[in-house]
């Protein structure tokens, strides 16, 4: 019988080779390998440098607007009649999502490394906008790869990136979504190794990216811990976040991994429903495999070809997931569930009407799960949901889905 060993801590990964259990690693072409080792070395040095940490802190406060608000969702709580629900308001950050946390960290690192050109991939455009924003702030050249399908459904963000001075490269290949944008960004990097820094938007990719992105996003969970302590004098009973690659989720989860009393729930995108095959839930519907520099759960066919994901939310429309989530799933520390397009659409409307907060379609997946689990829970159950982004970018797509003419 195989026994899954419970580690002494869930917060120690990745190991020195970038592995979380069997997941993670550095599966890249030799041309990129020395660059990735260079990023790792530079990041380790920066992490240990008080000046770097102080710079991040200062830009987080004065530029991004941290700490982000912590809000008791009173009417949603009353409506559901169960758990007491708090929102971590990452959508109030500069640029409208949690993505700025990571971009500030990585671009300050790129500056330390002397890089002049930043490339990024984007799905919903939130990471693209955040990257373009920070590049504008520091006078760096910015190139964003974005799938043509995503460009179509996230037009406001495309225009925003251009206003900020970034070049947006449409990627037609494959399904024209996030995975294809990432392939193209990797191709750019391999051809421009000397000048370019690749600012990956989620907690995935080759080591050290999953660890580094997690570190920059952990400010979310660290603040929640303090803010809830102040509001309620204790730890949450549960924390909930949506997951595409999983950067807002790992940022919320990581500080609580060793608090056994905290139930941790990640919500993947079930698209039109897992049985239809048209979804983006790689933990529920995928198998371990290797893509984009790491081993993780992937949607793939019997031959190991990567399958197209589907989600109404461009930011969750990815056939993989960050490797640390893959590991947390296997060691059973985090419970991974899913919400369909329709459930997210309903949650989107309920949240807008009850709380006066228009959530990103991505975050609406987390709320959709809250709608399912909160009602039967006791009133003193403290539940924190990450409002990872704001929904202004989605209003055209939502109007379409609801058959409304704008």
């Amino acid at each position: 019988m195989t026994v899954v060993q419970t580690p002494n801590t869930f917060r120690a990964g990745a190991d020195e080779n970038g592995h979380f259990g069997i997941f993670g690693g550095r599966y890249v072409a030799e041309t990129l390998m020395p660059l990735i080792l260079e990023v790792e070395k530079a990041y380790n040095a920066a992490k240990a440098d008080p000046k770097f940490q102080a710079d991040i802190k200062s830009y987080n406060v004065h530029y991004a607007g941290r700490p982000s608000a912590f809000y008791f969702a009173e009417r949603l709580t009353q409506h559901l009649g169960g758990a007491k629900i708090y929102f971590k308001r990452e959508e109030l950050n500069h640029t409208g999502s949690h993505k700025i946390n990571n971009c500030l960290g990585q671009i300050l690192l790129a500056l330390r490394m002397g890089k002049k050109r930043i490339i990024a991939e984007t799905g919903a455009g939130q990471h693209g906008v955040a990257t373009a924003t920070v590049c504008a702030r520091f006078g760096l050249k910015c190139v964003v790869y974005m799938g043509t399908k995503d460009i179509e459904r996230q037009k406001p963000n495309v225009f925003r990136m251009k206003l900020l001075g970034a070049e947006v490269f449409p990627v037609e290949k494959g399904t024209g979504t996030l995975k294809d944008a990432m392939n193209e960004a990797l191709r750019d990097w391999v051809a421009n190794v000397d000048t370019t820094y690749y600012c990956i938007g989620t907690a995935a990719g080759p080591h050290p990216y999953p660890t580094m992105v997690r570190d920059f996003q952990s400010v979310i969970g660290d603040e929640v811990r303090e803010q809830l302590q102040e509001a309620e004098g204790r730890l949450p009973d549960s924390v909930v976040a949506c997951i595409g690659g999983g950067s807002n989720a790992i940022g919320l989860f990581h500080p609580f991994l060793d608090d056994a009393s905290v139930k941790i729930i990640g919500v993947e995108a079930a698209g039109r429903g897992i049985p239809t095959g048209a979804h983006a839930a790689s933990l529920t519907g995928g198998q371990p495999g290797v893509l984009h520099g790491n081993r993780t759960y992937l949607l793939q066919d019997k031959n190991g070809q990567i399958q197209d994901a589907h989600s109404i939310s461009a930011g969750l429309d990815y056939p993989g997931i960050g490797p640390e989530h893959a590991w947390l799933n296997d060691v059973k520390r985090v419970q991974y569930v899913s919400a369909t397009d329709d459930e997210a659409l309903e949650a989107f409307q309920i949240c807008s009407k009850l709380e006066g907060i228009i959530p990103a379609l991505e975050s609406a997946h987390a709320i959709a799960h809250v709608l399912k689990i909160a009602p039967p829970l006791p009133k003193d159950h403290l539940m924190v949901v990450c409002m990872s982004g704001r929904g202004d970018k989605d209003v055209f797509a939502i109007a379409d889905a609801l058959g409304t003419k704008m």
Partner: protein, 270 residues
């Protein structure tokens, strides 16, 4: 002695460099691919790389990306590729075949089954673009057990400090990626390849093949003079694309066009 070692020894004895040709398995379809493959030795290929198509070929330029897509329309898997290699072996016992692709299809197949069946079919080596030495430890025992050469890539970015780690487990030959970039875009430059060969020779006695950025017979001539073999991929795959567009599903005509181009390349390295 393996087919790869024998072939490079023979080339040395003839006092010339070799031509390594890359074609994607199943492109544009399995029957045409088989015709192309079977005629490559007669056209002048000394070593054949058979591309294992992948949905997300991150290190490849447009030509090989498109060829993968054409092949994947027919749902090509490793089993089909092994069958094709076995059919080739019935008519050619000597020309080495190296499978080249990305790790996920092999990982999904299972490393041991992959190595065992590849060798049984008559393949001699494997190049896995996204499996650097840091991660190759999980596959090497299976390859060694069944006798499949692991051919590692070296690149302009590989430092001298890194080379021993790459070359320690390399066998068959060493592949030098001549340009920092994806396949089929930039051109390999004589001076930088010359410098790189000096660096690599200091670390390995294995034959060195140079690829990425060799498109014409003239380039093949120049680069092959500096190393043990020149690899041409994208340019051949483009002939497959153009010819199959022109000739439709006419395997003989497409194969003839490809073989004509390979003959020109072979004349360049001779």
């Amino acid at each position: 002695m393996s087919r790869i070692t024998k072939r490079f020894d023979a080339l040395k004895a003839q006092g010339r460099s070799g031509l390594v040709t890359f074609v994607t398995a199943g492109d544009p379809d399995m029957a045409t691919f088989q015709k192309i493959l079977n005629g490559l030795p007669a056209a002048g290929a000394d070593v054949i790389e058979v591309g294992v198509p992948f949905s997300d070929p991150m290190a490849d330029g447009p030509a090989i990306q498109l060829s993968s897509q054409r092949a994947l329309k027919h749902d090509i898997g490793l089993k089909d590729i092994f069958a094709s290699v076995a059919a080739f072996r019935k008519i050619d016992a000597d020309t080495p075949i190296v499978l080249m692709g990305y790790y996920n299809p092999i990982y999904r197949y299972g490393g041991d089954a992959f190595a065992k069946e590849a060798v049984a079919a008559g393949a001699d080596g494997v190049i896995i673009v996204d499996l650097p030495p840091e991660e190759a430890g999980e596959l090497l025992p299976a390859l060694n057990k069944h006798g499949l050469h692991m051919i590692f890539l070296t690149a302009p970015t590989s430092s001298d400090a890194r080379l021993p780690a790459i070359l320690n487990n390399a066998s068959g030959f060493v592949y030098y990626v001549a340009v920092a970039g994806v396949t089929g875009t930039k051109s390999a430059e004589e001076d930088s390849v010359k410098q790189a060969m000096k660096r690599l020779r200091a670390h390995t006695k294995l034959p060195i093949a140079v690829g990425f950025g060799i498109k014409t017979p003239a380039q093949a001539k120049t680069i092959s003079a500096l190393c043990d073999a020149a690899v041409v991929g994208s340019a051949i795959v483009e002939v497959v694309a153009q010819s199959s567009q022109k000739n439709g599903t006419a395997p003989d005509a497409v194969a003839a066009d490809v073989h004509r181009f390979v003959k020109d390349l072979a004349a360049g390295v001779r």
